[in-house]
C-alpha cells in the first residue's frame, strides 16, 4: 500500500514537473519577444552561458567527483581557437566552434593522462596549475594571440546562411547549446556511464574492483566536459566580439566551480538554479556599488552554511578525501 502510494505520488510529481518544464520552456522561448530590453535579454544570455559551463563541469566534478579549478582554461582555449580560426582563416562559425570544442577536449585529454593518477586535492591542484599555464601562454604568445592586446573584431556567426546579429539571435543560439549540453549530461548521468562515474566518485578502488574501467570513464568525463567548455568558449568569443586573457583567469574557474558546488554536486537542476542565482544577484544589486560584492559573498557563505550539500544536493554529505 505504502509502495503504491509512493508510486502515485512520484508519477504525480513527475507530471507536475513535466508541466513546469513545459512552461519554463515556453517562457525561455518567448524571452526576446515579450518586449523586455536588450539588457534583460543579455542577462538571460549570460545566465544560459554559465548554466552551460556549470553543466559541463558538473559532468566532471559533480558526477565523476574530479574537482577542477581550471575549467576557465578550456573555455579560454575554445574561445581563442574559434576566434583565431575565424579571424585569420575566415572559416565559418560552425567549423570554428567545433574546432574550439575539439581543441579544448584534446588538451583536456592530454592533461588527463598525468592527472589521472592523482586523487582529490592533488588533482585539483594540477587543474589549477594548468589553468594558470594556459592563461600565461595566451598572455605571452603574442605572435599568435596578440597577448594582452586581445583579439578585437571577432565576426558575428553565420549559421546555415543566417547571420546571428541581434540580441535575440544570440540568445537562441546559447539556448540551443545549453539544451544540448543539458540533454547530453542528463542522459549520461542516467546511463550506465553515469553510474560508473558516480561509483568512481564514491570510491575509485571499489569501483575498479567491481570491474569499472576507471581510465576509460575518467577519459570520457574529462573529454566531454572540456569539449562543452570549448564550445561555450567559442560562443562567448563571437558573442562579446573582443577577447583578451583577462577573461580566463582563476576567478572565472572558481565561479564555474561555485555553480556546481552551490547547486549540489552532481545535481543538474541545482547547477541551473545556482547559475540563475549567482549571475542575477550581483546584477540586481548594482545600485549598492561597493557593498554589492560584500553581500554577494555573505549570501554564498550563508547558503553553504545552511545547505552544505548545495541548494538541491542530496542529503548525504560529500566525503572529502
Amino acid at each position: 500500500m505504502q509502495v503504491l502510494g509512493g508510486n502515485r505520488k512520484a508519477s504525480l510529481s513527475s507530471r507536475a514537473s513535466r508541466i513546469l518544464f513545459g512552461i519554463l520552456g515556453l517562457v525561455l522561448l518567448a524571452v526576446p519577444y515579450v518586449g523586455v530590453s536588450s539588457y534583460v535579454v543579455r542577462m538571460f544570455t549570460l545566465t544560459l552561458m554559465y548554466i552551460s559551463l556549470g553543466l559541463s563541469l558538473n559532468l566532471l566534478s559533480g558526477l565523476a567527483g574530479q574537482v577542477s579549478l581550471g575549467h576557465a582554461a578550456f573555455y579560454g582555449i575554445g574561445a581563442y581557437t574559434s576566434a583565431l580560426l575565424s579571424l585569420r582563416l575566415g572559416l565559418p562559425f560552425m567549423l570554428t566552434c567545433l574546432a574550439g570544442g575539439i581543441m579544448a577536449s584534446l588538451l583536456g585529454l592530454l592533461l588527463c593522462f598525468p592527472a589521472m593518477k592523482l586523487q582529490g586535492t592533488y588533482f585539483t591542484f594540477v587543474t589549477l596549475g594548468f589553468g594558470e599555464i594556459v592563461r600565461l601562454i595566451i598572455l605571452n604568445w603574442a605572435k599568435l594571440t596578440r597577448g594582452p592586446m586581445g583579439l578585437p573584431g571577432i565576426p558575428q556567426p553565420v549559421i546555415l546562411g543566417i547571420r546571428i546579429a541581434s540580441d535575440g539571435a544570440y540568445y537562441y543560439l546559447i539556448l540551443v547549446i545549453a539544451v544540448i549540453i543539458y540533454a547530453v549530461v542528463s542522459n549520461i548521468s542516467n546511463s550506465a556511464t553515469g553510474r560508473a562515474l558516480v561509483a568512481i566518485r564514491e570510491d575509485t578502488l571499489v569501483a575498479e574492483a567491481m570491474g569499472v574501467n576507471v581510465f576509460k570513464y575518467k577519459m570520457i568525463a574529462f573529454g566531454l566536459s572540456t569539449f562543452f567548455a570549448g564550445i561555450v568558449g567559442a560562443y562567448f568569443a563571437h558573442y562579446i566580439s573582443f577577447i583578451d586573457p583577462s577573461n580566463f583567469t582563476f576567478d572565472e574557474s572558481s565561479l564555474i566551480l561555485s555553480l556546481v558546488v552551490l547547486g549540489g554536486m552532481g545535481n543538474l537542476k541545482g547547477t541551473i538554479l545556482a547559475a540563475c542565482f549567482l549571475i542575477a544577484v550581483p546584477e540586481v544589486m548594482r545600485g549598492l556599488l561597493a557593498y554589492r560584492m560584500l553581500i554577494y559573498g555573505l549570501i554564498l557563505v550563508l547558503a553553504m552554511m545552511i545547505r552544505p550539500q548545495g541548494l538541491l544536493g542530496s542529503q548525504k554529505r560529500m566525503q572529502v578525501s
Binding site: G147, E283, L289, R307
Partner: protein, 374 residues
C-alpha cells in the same frame, strides 16, 4: 524543504529584478560613470567617482545646465569586460542617460565600444590608451594623452636633454604596457637612441625584478624607461637601488602618485617623468580644483581624479551647447576646442583623441617638482 526553498528563492529573485528596474529619476540630466569601484583597481575607480561628482556639484551649485541639474550615476564595472558590457546594455536601453564617462582599462572600453556605438551613445574614457579604442566608432572619445604623444616626448627629452644613448625599457605585459613600449621605441629610433634591453613583467605577479635589472645592467643601459604603474615602479626603483646599479629612471605619467615616493623613498630620487597634470601647477584652474577637491574629500587629487574631472567638464561643456540629445551631444563634443581643463587645454582631433601638452617632472627631495614643458 527543497521545493519550498526553491519557490522562496525564485520569488525573491523575481522581486529583486523588478526592484532593480524601477530606478528612473526625472527633471535632471543623467550622466553614467562606469568605473572599477571594487576589485584590484578600486583606487582608480574612487578617483573617477570623486572627480566626476565634484564637477557635477560645482555645476549644480552654479545653477546647472540651462536650469537642469546634472547627476552622475556611478556603476561598478570591476574592471571586467563582462560586467562592462552588462552595464553598457543597461545604459543604452535607458533613454534617460545622456552620455557615459568611463572605463578605466582599455580592455573594458574595447568590449563595450560596439554596444555604445550601435546605440549611438557617447562613451568618453578618461584613461584608455589603447590605439584601437577610438577607432571602434564615432561615438568613442578619449580624454587622455595617448602614448603616441607621451612616448616620443619622453624619448626626445632623454636623448636631447639628458644626453642618454643606451636606453632600456621595463614594461608591464598588458595592452597599455605594450602600446607604451611600442610608441616609446618608435621615438627612440626617431631621435637616434639605442634600445639595449626591453624587458616585460606580469602585472600583479612579478615581485622580484632583480633578474630583469641584472640583465639591463649587463646590457650597459644608462637609463630605464618605466611603462609600469607606480606600485611596480616603486619596487623596481628599490631593487635597483639595493643592487647598487647606477642607472637613471624615467617614468611614464602612470607613476605620478605620491604613493611612489612613500613606497620607494630615496630610491626614486632624481627620477624624471612625463605628466599632463601637476598638482602644484600655479595656474588658477588647477589651484581652484585642488582647493575644491580637498574641501570635499580631504585629500589631494591624483591625475586620475583630474582626468575624470576634466572629462565630466567636457561633457558638461557639450551639454551646454546642445542639451541632452545623444547624437547632437556627440557632434558638440567632437567640436570642442581648447577647453581649459586642469590637465591642460583640450581639443579633440579628427579621431576624437584629446590633444594636450605634456610636462616633465622630477622627484627632488622627496617631492615632485616641475622641470620643463615639452
Amino acid at each position: 524543504m527543497t521545493k519550498r526553498l526553491m519557490i522562496t528563492l525564485v520569488s525573491t529573485l523575481v522581486l529583486l529584478c523588478l526592484c532593480g528596474m524601477c530606478t528612473i529619476g526625472a527633471g535632471e540630466i543623467r550622466i553614467a560613470v562606469c568605473a572599477p569601484i571594487t576589485g584590484n583597481y578600486s583606487q582608480y575607480g574612487l578617483s573617477f567617482k570623486n572627480g566626476t561628482q565634484l564637477m557635477a556639484k560645482l555645476v549644480n551649485e552654479a545653477g546647472g545646465i540651462n536650469g537642469a541639474r546634472i547627476k552622475m550615476e556611478i556603476y561598478d564595472d570591476k574592471n571586467e569586460q563582462k560586467e562592462g558590457v552588462n552595464i553598457a546594455q543597461r545604459l543604452v536601453s535607458d533613454r534617460g542617460v545622456a552620455a557615459v564617462i568611463g572605463h578605466f582599462a582599455s580592455g573594458v572600453c574595447l568590449a563595450t565600444a560596439p554596444v555604445f556605438q550601435r546605440a549611438g551613445l557617447v562613451l568618453i574614457s578618461p584613461t584608455s590608451s589603447h590605439p584601437d579604442f577610438t577607432k571602434q566608432g564615432t561615438y568613442m572619445f578619449r580624454n587622455n594623452v595617448k602614448e603616441d604623444v607621451e612616448g616620443p616626448c619622453s624619448a626626445e627629452f632623454m636623448i636631447k636633454q639628458l644626453k642618454k644613448k643606451n636606453i632600456a625599457i621595463i614594461y608591464v605585459n598588458n595592452d597599455w604596457g605594450v602600446t607604451a613600449r611600442d610608441y616609446f621605441m618608435e621615438g627612440v629610433k626617431k631621435f637616434g637612441g639605442k634600445i639595449v634591453a626591453s624587458e616585460m613583467f606580469i602585472d600583479g605577479q612579478t615581485k622580484d625584478f632583480s633578474p630583469i635589472l641584472t640583465k639591463i645592467n649587463a646590457a650597459k643601459a644608462e637609463i630605464i624607461y618605466l611603462a609600469a604603474m607606480y606600485t611596480d615602479s616603486g619596487m623596481i626603483a628599490q631593487q635597483l637601488n639595493r643592487l647598487g646599479y647606477k642607472i637613471d629612471l624615467f617614468g611614464n605619467s602612470s607613476i605620478y602618485n605620491d604613493m611612489l615616493i612613500q613606497l620607494a623613498g630615496k630610491a626614486v630620487e632624481g627620477t624624471y617623468l612625463v605628466a599632463s597634470y601637476f598638482d602644484e601647477d600655479p595656474t588658477p584652474v588647477v589651484r581652484n580644483f585642488i582647493a575644491n577637491y580637498k574641501k570635499e574629500y580631504g585629500v589631494v587629487p591624483d591625475q586620475y581624479a583630474a582626468l575624470a574631472y576634466d572629462t565630466a567638464g567636457l561633457v558638461v561643456e557639450a551639454l551646454k551647447i546642445c542639451g541632452p540629445d545623444r547624437a547632437k551631444l556627440r557632434d558638440a563634443l567632437a567640436g570642442i576646442k581648447d577647453y581649459p581643463g586642469v590637465t591642460g587645454n583640450t581639443t579633440f582631433d579628427e579621431n576624437r583623441d584629446a590633444q594636450k601638452g605634456v610636462i616633465i617632472l622630477q622627484i627632488q627631495n622627496g617631492k615632485f617638482v616641475f622641470h620643463s614643458r615639452v
